[in-house]
Point group: D2
Chain length 252, copies 4
């Protein structure tokens, strides 16, 4: 049997596992608003609401007026943003679906103003998908001597290759134990104890625009771990696409 | 000059003051999804997001599946609701505009999970609109002897009429002082000190469906004051219209 | 009968109505941690938890260490504050009691991360206490020509005196109607319709230190209305007293 | 060298590794309000604020009264709880420290109203502590046939012993890779990729009493995984100790 990147049995021997109907994933793999992240992850826009205009309309409640055209209102939007009048930005928002490793979700879930629904390792067998960093990432993954939480350049190609082999072997060993325990009839909620935090999981996340921008402020920052930054960058692209004027102010 | 129900000068001598272009209100008075409440208030749906189907999709994240049709999934929706698995209901929501007296907004704003943008008495002159209860409401407005916070039947037509005259005269006196102070050049933020809590104000309010349902649980309840209940009932109609299956479970 | 500043019958003919047992207010008027604000308002510290040290301890969870003395840790506290690592500041907090006019509470309650319990005009008769600005405040209360929401210097002593008389008369008229309606048996929840937003109310408010500091950022600002700024300044004094090192960083 | 249960080098050859100064853990292991949970975890009360009396005081704000003694007020407390007037319960709270496996923290952190500060695998090497279920737990850890997320009785002593050996070996292998990667100079943020979700971590958590009770409602429930239930039971004991009357109503 052949598995696609989702850990699902592929129905067709297609070249590109993201093509439609390549696997029995509940929804087609071929989707607009879908962006791959890392080796097996993705961010997909499920829906958005509100707009740059809606933000102006809500801000104008205070003065009993409405949206009056961007000639005049681009100034107001900039004023709201720069003076931290953030409540009008709560009148828009986005729901996304994300596939990411557990250690990324651990950081993500510290954002307590988002709503989450995630894959449950108690209800279902976890997919056979583990985050393996690229060679470039590993070579830049030496413990930083400048800051305690970061990493820096430093490994050779050979050293990097060895590290990747170490990770891959460890994931494979853990997966073998996981599957063996399930085969013995051990409950999913216990068998999962051996799964590493590189294990991919999946969730829906929903928040208003103010809270997404706060998420991006922290997670697009250079102090954020490189992996969650890749996700934040894609969320940023979605904001740019749906709320272009707000985005313009955000990145200034 | 003739004023419409918004306290705005009417442009046309139209029969129906809610007809389009009857006044210079920033947006047309003739709007779909617009429902009058009390004597000068309203609730208008600005937008909604998500759906009953979306709630199922989000709940199914836990088992790695999607929406499978209501034949099967109406059971799941009922299970979620009855077992208080409320997070999937955060994946939908509504933004509304509300015109209501200040004492209603005082109760409304205790719901801290909603987002608000309201008319500011510092930025703009408040509209000449005050809540005058109907005869029926006043006749049923005797201090309850059964519960400390409520009211009950008890006044005659004549008594009720007198009470309405008292309220109306007091509002007019306060408004006169307010306008006189503004005419003298007193700042709006100080002149408003005399305005009664029957003063109408206006806001946008946005929340996810879980939080709207929590609002309705408290504010459609018979212990809620009659006035805010009228608003909650209209919000309930919007939920019924946009999320009919969730509504069906809510009112069971 | 003589009434104290609480609108309560004074038991003793004491000179200072805030002295202990001067009135039948449920708790003594003579209290530590009690500060008068405006003409009839106050802020009282009910209790606080956590400390500057506790904030360090919580931040040090990340590196598996504890508090190590201020010689070393004053730097860490400054680092946390300046780099917006705000979660450790959630490990401390304060509960206060506040008496303030309704228009101040209207602004206060927009802070949705605080917990509130307030006097209910449905359950009890509101106290005969209304905010009357001082002569100095009124003379500085002309509508600002520089910014739409503010006020500025400009009235003469005579003009200011007239404005104060206007306010006082309007409050008295509204109060008379309120009491007359109650005397007729009208339910408290309806009689209160005529009460002006200068009406004093009372509440308990509780929040963690991070949220109190956010409150102070907005409400000690010169763009905040002068009245709520007086309350914020007193809350600031409480923070200064209980969390002196955090306060030192906040006001930098 | 001998390691204590914290993965720290023991200074003394003491019998009881939890005795004071047995290891170089930043704070003494001998602490009041400290309860062991699972094999290497604990819950420790750091501090609490408010009280059953304070809850009454706050609720009485609405009627302009204070605490009047439990003869009268035990009824009021019961009324508040049963009629879901939950805001007075926000006027009390607790801060605790918790050591638990990552899979428990993953469930815990879904409670978005708590404040958290946790050990960071980017800043520090994770302790060599992994959750190994007891024999009794494993024997009761067969995949349930009644409900999809649970486990049930079913393994023999021999089968259970084998499962424990499988888990232990897998943890040891993962730990070896982790330490080898660190020894090679791989950044902590990457080396941790292989760590299993049975890895112990540590955090401070703070919340008001209303939110702790909501946590207990979900996590003391029989549908919660057995491991997090052990933590919730200890939190429940703390609530019982500090807020006995509220606890009495909660468990009814």
């Amino acid at each position: 049997m052949v598995y696609c990147e989702w850990g699902k049995v592929m129905k067709y021997d297609c070249e590109h596992p993201w093509a439609p109907d390549c696997c029995d994933h509940p929804r087609s793999c071929h989707r607009p608003n879908f962006t791959k992240v890392l080796d097996h992850g993705y961010v997909e826009l499920i829906e958005h609401w509100g707009s740059d205009e809606r933000i102006i309309e809500s801000a104008r409640m205070s003065t009993n007026k409405g949206f009056e055209g961007w000639d005049k209102d681009s100034k107001l939007l900039a004023y709201l943003w720069k003076n931290k009048h953030h409540t009008p930005f709560e009148m828009a928002g986005m729901t996304i679906e994300v596939q990411a490793p557990i250690f990324v979700f651990r950081e993500w879930h510290r954002h307590r103003t988002q709503s989450y629904n995630e894959l449950s390792a108690r209800y279902t067998e976890m997919p056979n998908l583990y985050y393996l960093p690229s060679g470039a990432r590993v070579r830049a993954g030496k413990q930083s001597t400048k800051n305690k939480q970061g990493s820096q350049e430093g490994f050779t190609d050979v050293e990097g290759g060895d590290i990747i082999l170490d990770l891959r072997a460890s994931y494979a060993d853990s997966r073998d134990v996981y599957e063996a325990l399930l085969a013995k009839g051990v409950a999913r909620e216990l068998a999962r104890l051996v799964l590493p935090v590189a294990q991919y999981s999946r969730m829906r996340a929903s928040a208003n625009l103010r809270n997404w921008l706060q998420f991006l402020t922290l997670r697009m920052d250079e102090h954020a771990q490189w992996e969650i930054r890749q996700y934040a960058n894609v969320v940023g692209e979605l904001v740019k696409d749906k709320f272009p004027r707000t985005w313009g102010l955000f990145i200034e």
